[in-house]
Symmetry: C2
Subunit: 466 residues, 2 copies
């Protein structure tokens, strides 16, 4: 079995017939639909699945997996397609399970600060639906990703510095296993010591251990007071040094985002913000009114010590939304700076004290390479992204970008960091995973995978080769 585990396994006509019988016109084999489900935001070429099933319920998912399992054909869960690491590509063929119609918030329980929802709910939808309850869900990876996808990649983004990542905010899951069985992990309680932490095993498993069909999340009370500010710095090192000190002092800052001058220029062009074109921290503070005042005073002082300017405040909700929308657009805005380009994006995360040297070295090398690039970072976590914009028709540029990426990763690993803070391994970082954690740990991951998915049908070819 293992010798063929990584070979393409085209869905046979018998499977397609069975799926059509079960799902009717919710099965599609149209090339346009398949191509749309065989790509994501990564720089990889499209790898379309053989068919797409539009699932509307847990039973749909269970039935689709059961049918695929009978033919040992891969299944690939699909949310909104915002992966940056090739998670959605059908590299071994198979059936894409489109979960975007499973988009209901099933229960919001303000009295318990929890919500239970289907995997196709997006983060912005969830926040719209719970806002009137005085609650919000903080994890915000930039893209308006599906919560199922955010579980699968262990997403984080802005706000994680204060509220944690998906790792900390998922309480329970319903999961369809490789045999089509429906299981539940976790409970509605905030903590538990009941057996293996299957919830955390599923979170970040990139669709390779089960298909997530229901999610219970922690919600948080909307802060009484909220302030957003930008601060410009003479150079990127000063901005990062400020961040490091803020974290070391334990200031409970809610968001602390770095944009380099190229990213600022991109969002200026795209969103007409008129920001000064200089390295910038975009920050948000949550708390009581007095608490927010205290936090901002502390951070302003630290910033000044590092050459930062006076904070510029987004005082109205509209201004705040405008700034954060611009931040969320940074990736797409920057791609437009080089029409037709694709991006190779790094995702290292390092112990906080080592962050400045990492960012500065990456910037120096990128500048020297001549490739267009930009830097954004969830710097409060020690996580930053440098994106190299390459012309897909010039193979030399792709190679150059990959070699720059490699150097960024190697430096991060050398100081005890990780090759991926939030995007996942996917297709792109499988070699780095082995370098980072060692053959022994990857062998343990493979053993878990083989135990839970012996025929290797769940999103095969991602995270590691079997």
């Amino acid at each position: 079995m293992l010798s063929t585990a990584n070979a393409p396994r085209t869905a046979p006509a018998a499977l397609i017939d069975a799926l059509r019988q079960r799902f009717g016109d919710r099965l599609s084999t149209a090339l346009a639909v398949r191509e749309q489900h065989g790509r994501d935001e990564s720089p990889f070429d499209v790898a379309p699945p053989d068919a797409v099933v539009f699932c509307e319920s847990t039973q749909d998912v269970a039935d689709a997996v059961t049918l695929a399992a009978a033919h040992r054909v891969p299944v690939i869960p699909f949310g909104v397609g915002s992966s940056l690491e090739g998670h959605l590509l059908a590299v071994q063929g198979g059936v894409s399970l489109d979960l975007s119609r499973m988009n209901r918030v099933l229960r919001a329980e303000p009295e318990n600060l929890t919500a239970t929802l289907q995997p196709g709910v997006t983060r912005s939808q969830l926040n719209r639906e719970v806002k009137d309850l005085g609650l919000f869900f903080p994890i915000d990876p930039g893209a308006d990703a599906s919560l199922g996808g955010m579980c699968a990649t262990r997403a984080s983004g802005t706000n994680a510095v204060r509220y944690g990542t998906m790792r900390e905010n998922v309480l329970a899951l319903e999961v369809v296993t490789a045999s089509g069985q429906v299981i539940r992990t976790g409970t509605q309680a905030r903590k538990s010591s009941a057996g293996y932490d299957l919830t955390r095993l599923m979170v970040g498993s990139e669709g390779t251990l089960g298909v997530i069909t229901e999610i219970t999340l922690k919600l948080h009370p909307l802060p009484e007071s909220l302030a957003a500010a930008v601060c410009f710095f003479p150079d990127i090192a000063s901005a990062v040094a400020t961040t490091i000190q803020v974290i070391q002092m334990g200031v409970p800052i809610a968001r602390c985002e770095l944009l380099d001058v190229n990213a600022v220029r991109a969002v200026n062009n795209h969103d007409k913000l008129g920001l000064r074109e200089a390295p910038m921290l975009l920050m948000e503070f949550h708390g009581s009114e007095a608490g927010v005042a205290e936090q901002t005073a502390t951070v302003q002082e630290i910033a000044k010590d590092h050459g930062g300017e006076d904070f510029q405040w987004a005082t109205t909700p509209e201004e705040r939304t405008r700034l954060w929308t611009a931040r969320h657009h940074a990736y797409l805005s920057a791609l437009q700076m080089r029409p037709g380009c694709r991006a190779v994006t790094t995702d290292t995360c390092v112990p906080i004290a080592r962050l400045a040297e990492m960012v500065v070295a990456a910037e120096d090398e990128a500048r020297a390479s001549g490739l267009p690039y930009f830097i954004v970072g969830h710097v409060g976590d020690g996580n930053f992204h440098i994106a190299y914009l390459l012309d897909p028709n010039l193979p030399g540029e792709r190679d150059l970008a990959e070699s720059l990426n490699e150097r960024v990763v190697r430096r991060a690993l050398a100081v005890g960091g990780t090759c991926t803070g939030e995007h996942g391994i996917g297709l792109h970082k499988q070699g780095f995973l082995i370098e980072e954690t060692g053959e022994g740990a990857v062998a343990m991951m493979r053993a878990v995978k083989r135990a839970l998915d012996p025929d290797n049908i769940l999103n095969p070819g991602k995270i590691f080769a079997l």
Copy 2:
């Protein structure tokens, strides 16, 4: 293999000889030593291992496991013996690995807010060693447990309401696998999406998936200001209702501990505290001076609305320590209220809004039963313990206590809670685990166990039967 997986497997003379050759007088087969390693704080009878190895290094552990694995003989990691669920009992025979000599803090990195240490370090030792760096490790299960044991049971305790449990505070582990191989999980970075979350798989695995030999933890800056207060209530329901509202409002309270009148009486007797004998919340607030003042004002107001009295403050560090020491002694103090007794202790954790009804029902039933009992709770998490004090010579009392425990658990499960917030499954709650999470999830746990420990030598018989 499976048919014999749960049978006792006495260490053969050849294994004892090999261990003696390798470890010399760090191997003991003396009955007193074996008995000391075959019990814990649970009400179970002692089940001594065949031998005890005092390990002093990762290599010691790896060698001991390798030798035991060659004979398919169980190994049971031992820290300080403070388990409440029978984790340390050699129910299938085997070798106890005493890790208490692996008690060095290897690195404290204040600049990164992390520490790396051996598993025999206790929480109080760690806090002593990092205090001068302006840091602390918040997880505090009451007992002065070893950090290895706290990882293995996914411990929490006071402070978890604000700082999370071991689940949230362990960054990386070194683990000896069932074959004696040394692997590493996680990195020093605060977050990562690099493959399966083996760290979280090991945390809470109760020694059944690997022996933890090194731990990297998050540390937290000592708060600028810190205040502890007690507040008395007319009844336990009012104290819990106060807690619920504090949590729902998002007040970042650091500790929020409930003691019922019996627990207060016990700590009064033991620690000469002179507290009023009434249901009590023992609280702690961390933050800036203004932040602490604000939090305490809010909580005092909520308490008053529920019939709580004026806060009594522990204003000096000495008074604070005295109060918390008394809280830490509550379990042992209460046992002394009935000389010679043993305790059956519940550990349910429920969604916060359901906590009051849970505590009140448990109290009513306990009172009606005639068994001595006391209640303490990390109520900010939705977690409380009711301990029934039983005469071990009266089997009827044990049965009564177990039936009371069962009713507490069933009620918790019915509202989406867990049978164990922090003590683990061990020997005691294996039936409850299946009720809680379902056969499907437990089958998945067993599949993981079989994949990582095919000969079932790692602390066999705990969490589930194979």
